[in-house]
């Protein structure tokens, strides 16, 4: 069976699973067995069939699993966003369509040779920095939940960090391919630009108070640097620099301090100072309210989960229990309703995407392609780790999206663009290998 036919079959399987999930969410919310979910399933299915056709036309030899995996994750996300808030669900469906349109455009645009991107590496690099700084521009940036992540232009809200991440990977892939020999020799003068990147990361951190985004971008940078140079010492030095910088900033930024405190000690037996209202409160009722409620939600899932649509996200009198549930905390909704079995399956889907992405990097022929695929895949893994790890209290909690699943337009579009890039690299690798 050809790669594309396998893709189509897998896509159909994913469609079946997703339809069942969405149907049960629908039936639970309407308390009646009807077929209102069918148009949704058809719409989403149609969108991915179009994606498949475009893929077939542009990158026929590319990896057959990435699109179905992305489609399934997207469908799970859509199911949960719809289940938590049907209005957001409708918007999310539109965003998925836009995401697939962007995916198709990227494939069509770069179908002959994506490596032209390398020519514009500095443009991408500068754009990445500009995008990252955008939320801190007065009048443009929106501070939500104490973190500057959003840009508002008219009615459009936009999370530039999601796009910046991809731009950064493109830039680094190009730049590191050029400089990898020089860097590997470890002469100090070659590290100027890297120190500049470190400085930029710190600056962004100060400007946005967003530890998660800084950690993500710097982590991608270190991983790619390691792949390019094969020098662990450089990675170690980078980590030390980042940790040092973060430690200095820790004392300067209340926001980060608070996040770390919440992470280390979410429950207190005595009332402590509450940064939200300045009064004395138990921390679980104040600063760590969100994290603690989310952990309760996860724990409530147990092995098998409550079932889709049957989880508890509201108190008895109907007030929502967890703020930002559809975005930052969508994982705790998944964990409660799908249980350990379901949510482990979802994490394995991410694992599969990462594994396939890394495989693309392995079989790619040239340095730029390898670095590009590795950077994108590692970025996906790290982003998943930072947000899910934050929700699971493995690392301090930071507000970034769970790829493909969280509610949020920019995130969806950026992730589909990322899949398109991986497929482009994959297609070329297979073709040249023949």
């Amino acid at each position: 069976m050809s790669a594309r036919n396998r893709e189509l079959v897998t896509l159909l399987l994913a469609g079946l699973v997703a339809s069942a999930a969405f149907a049960s969410a629908w039936i639970q919310s309407t308390s009646a067995i009807d077929y209102g979910w069918v148009p949704w399933a058809a719409l989403l299915g149609g969108v991915f069939v179009i994606a498949h056709i475009v893929t077939r036309a542009t990158v026929p030899h590319a990896d057959p699993t990435l699109l179905p995996l992305a489609a399934l994750l997207t469908a799970v996300g859509l199911t949960f966003v719809y289940r938590l808030d049907p209005t957001d669900g409708r918007k999310q469906l539109v965003w998925v369509a836009i995401g697939v349109a962007v995916y198709s455009l990227v494939l069509l645009w770069l179908r002959y040779d994506y490596r032209i991107l390398e020519r514009y590496k500095y443009l991408f690099g500068v754009s990445a920095i500009v995008l990252l700084m955008l939320p801190s521009v007065p009048g443009l940036g929106q501070r939500i939940n104490g973190v500057r992540l959003w840009v508002e232009i008219g009615p459009l809200q936009f999370q530039p960090g999601e796009v910046a991440k991809i731009f950064l990977v493109v830039f680094l892939a190009g730049y590191l391919r050029d400089k990898r020999e020089a860097l590997a020799q470890g002469r100090l003068k070659d590290f100027g630009p890297l120190l500049a990147i470190w400085g930029a990361a710190m600056l962004v951190l100060v400007q946005t108070s967003d530890l998660g985004s800084a950690l993500l971008n710097f982590g991608i940078f270190l991983a790619m640097l390691y792949v390019a140079t094969n020098r662990l010492s450089i990675v170690a030095a980078g980590l030390v620099l980042f940790a040092g910088g973060a430690a200095v900033l820790y004392n300067a930024l209340d926001r980060i301090q608070q996040r770390v405190t919440v992470w280390l000690e979410p429950w207190t037996d005595d009332k402590v100072y509450c940064t939200l209202n300045g009064a004395l409160e138990y921390r679980q009722n104040c600063d760590s309210y969100q994290l603690v409620k989310s952990l309760y939600s996860i724990a409530n899932g147990g092995y098998g989960g409550t079932g889709i649509g049957k989880g508890t996200f509201q108190t008895v009198d109907g007030t929502p229990l967890i703020p930002y549930l559809q975005t930052d905390f969508v994982y705790s909704a998944l964990a409660q309703e799908l249980g350990l079995i379901g949510v482990a399956a979802v994490l394995l889907l991410y694992l599969a995407v990462v594994a396939r992405g890394m495989r693309v990097a392995l079989i790619a022929q040239d340095g730029f392609s390898k670095l590009l695929a590795a950077g994108l895949s590692f970025g996906l893994a790290l982003q998943t780790f930072i947000i899910v790890g934050g929700v699971l209290r493995l690392v301090p909690l930071t507000g970034i999206t769970l790829p493909f699943v969280s509610y949020g337009g920019t995130s969806i579009v950026a992730n589909f663009a990322m899949v398109a890039l991986l497929l482009l690299v994959s297609n070329r690798a297979v073709v040249t290998a023949r």
């Binding site: 138990y282 590692f378 998943t384 699971l392």
Partner: protein
């Protein structure tokens, strides 16, 4: 580049594996701990989706459910058809103020979580098919008619009435005043907050029957008398001389009425007329620890057993700086004053009902209980409380002697107001003065039964802030309640 790529790939996949491990931790190991946390509202939501078992008095419903659909889920909220009548025992189960009383202590039974494994499997099947969990029904031993009489008799006084069947330990009446309507706890707590009574603070949510710690006054003389007889150094005919006062540590402690000293009298007469000097001298002779050991046999220094929450039952005994205290040496306590119920002795009405019951039941204190049986939703009796001996407080002969002394108190002593024609009633009055008129705590403890039979009822009545004596204030209430229990038809 491939070797380092492989390493990065392994790291990336390792990150995801770590997430699976961490999720496993929270969903399995940490799960019970998180579910038990007070601020876990998910648990609360789940609890209100359970159709709690009913709480019944033999023929009446004390607590039932009202179903309400909210956001696609069916919730069950509690209603208490009898209003304030049994509030101090039943308590409440609410969202905003959690639980109290049997609703709190028997939550596991009422929500069906205490069931045997096979039943739990059925429960899980019901859960899968979307049926609500139904808890077990609790049947109490309360006599609502007498309970009503007790609450009415207490009126606007602060205080409590506890009545037991001394033969079994069955709790018949537990009334605390002022009380509250448990239906208002969720909906209109302000109204409960505004309740006023003859004491400050009125504290209607406090169950004074088991949480009210009062000076026992002369009712403690029953314990002292028991210690005296059990020491074998005294008998009911032991002679005393009453000068109208007793000297302890060089100070004079007066009788209640100093104007007419009794002169020569026996121990039995001392109890009948509640003569302080007699018991003061016994106390000095026996020492504090001996008397406290006797008190302990009646159940002092332990929370009185009952199915209500532990925190709602206080132990009786000597208190020092708000802590229960058992003296290590006799000289740490003024035994003379303690012997007639002063010093730092604090007791609950529940404990004093157990003292009266112990005497009435030939010296054996039965373990008090209020849950008659637990019944499954299918009507099967899951468990039935068996009567059980708590302790032997006094030997049978001495118990009989004290019983007779207490009967003479009612026949021709300080407790004549408690006489019930046709029944044999024994009792002891108590008036704990505070030195401020209108601030006496008055007591009456008693037992009653048919002539020639073991007493069927034991009772303790305590009233706060009284001007008069226990014989004048508490004894009539005890009589009314005992009469309601002994002659149900007399109080329709």
């Amino acid at each position: 580049m491939n070797p380092q790529l492989r390493r990065v790939a392994r790291t990336a996949m390792g990150l995801i594996i770590v997430l699976i491990v961490a999720t496993t931790y929270w969903q399995t190991w940490a799960r019970p701990g998180l579910a038990a946390r007070q601020d876990n509202e998910i648990q609360r939501v789940a609890e209100f989706q359970v159709r709690r078992g009913l709480i019944l008095a033999p023929a009446r419903v004390l607590a039932r459910n009202r179903a309400q659909k909210r956001g696609g889920k069916t919730f069950y909220f509690r209603r208490y058809p009898q209003g304030p009548l049994a509030a101090s025992v039943v308590g409440y189960s609410t969202i905003s103020r959690s639980r109290a009383g049997l609703e709190k202590s028997l939550n596991g039974i009422l929500t069906g979580t205490d069931r045997a494994l096979s039943d739990l499997v059925d429960q899980q099947l019901d859960h899968l098919t979307g049926k609500p969990i139904v808890g077990d029904t609790v049947v109490t031993t309360l006599d609502l008619q007498a309970q009503r009489v007790a609450l009415d008799a207490l009126g606007r006084n602060c205080g409590a009435v506890v009545a037991l069947d001394p033969r079994s330990g069955k709790l018949l009446v537990m009334a605390s005043s002022p009380t509250y309507n448990p239906n208002l706890v969720e909906e209109n707590f302000g109204q409960i907050d505004r309740i006023r009574a003859n004491c400050q603070p009125a504290a209607p949510l406090v169950n004074r029957a088991t949480q009210g710690l009062y000076a026992p006054g002369s009712t403690f003389k029953v314990v002292t008398a028991a210690a005296a007889l059990e020491s074998n150094r005294f008998d009911p005919d032991s002679n005393f001389y009453d000068p109208g006062y007793c000297t302890v540590y060089g100070k004079r402690v007066n009788n209640f009425d100093t104007s007419s000293p009794f002169g020569n009298l026996t121990l039995a007469q001392g109890l009948q007329h509640s003569v302080n000097s007699v018991f003061c001298n016994i106390g000095k002779a026996l020492g504090a620890r001996k008397i406290l050991e006797q008190a302990r046999k009646f159940g002092f220094y332990e929370r009185p057993p009952l199915e209500t929450p532990d925190v709602e039952r206080y132990p009786s005994g000597l208190y020092r700086n708000h802590d229960l205290w058992f003296p290590k040496r006799d000289q740490d306590v003024d035994a003379g004053r303690m012997a007639f119920g002063q010093e730092r002795m604090l007791v609950t009405p529940m404990q004093m009902a157990m003292v009266a019951g112990g005497i009435g039941n030939a010296g054996i204190v039965m373990r008090p209980y209020v849950v008659e049986k637990v019944v499954s939703p299918q009507g099967k009796t899951v468990s039935r409380t068996r009567r059980e001996r708590l302790s032997r407080a006094v030997g049978p002969v001495h118990a009989r002697e004290i019983e007779d002394m207490m009967v003479s108190v009612v026949q021709a002593g300080t407790g004549t107001a408690a006489q019930i024609p046709g029944f044999r009633v024994g009792g002891k009055t108590g008036t704990a003065e505070t030195g401020v008129p209108g601030r006496n705590t008055t007591w009456f403890i008693a037992f009653a039964g048919r002539e020639g039979r073991r007493p069927e009822v034991a009772i303790a009545v305590a009233l706060e802030n009284q001007y008069s004596t226990g014989g004048a204030t508490a004894a009539p209430i005890a009589r009314q309640v005992m009469e309601a229990l002994l002659r149900p038809a007399a109080n329709p």
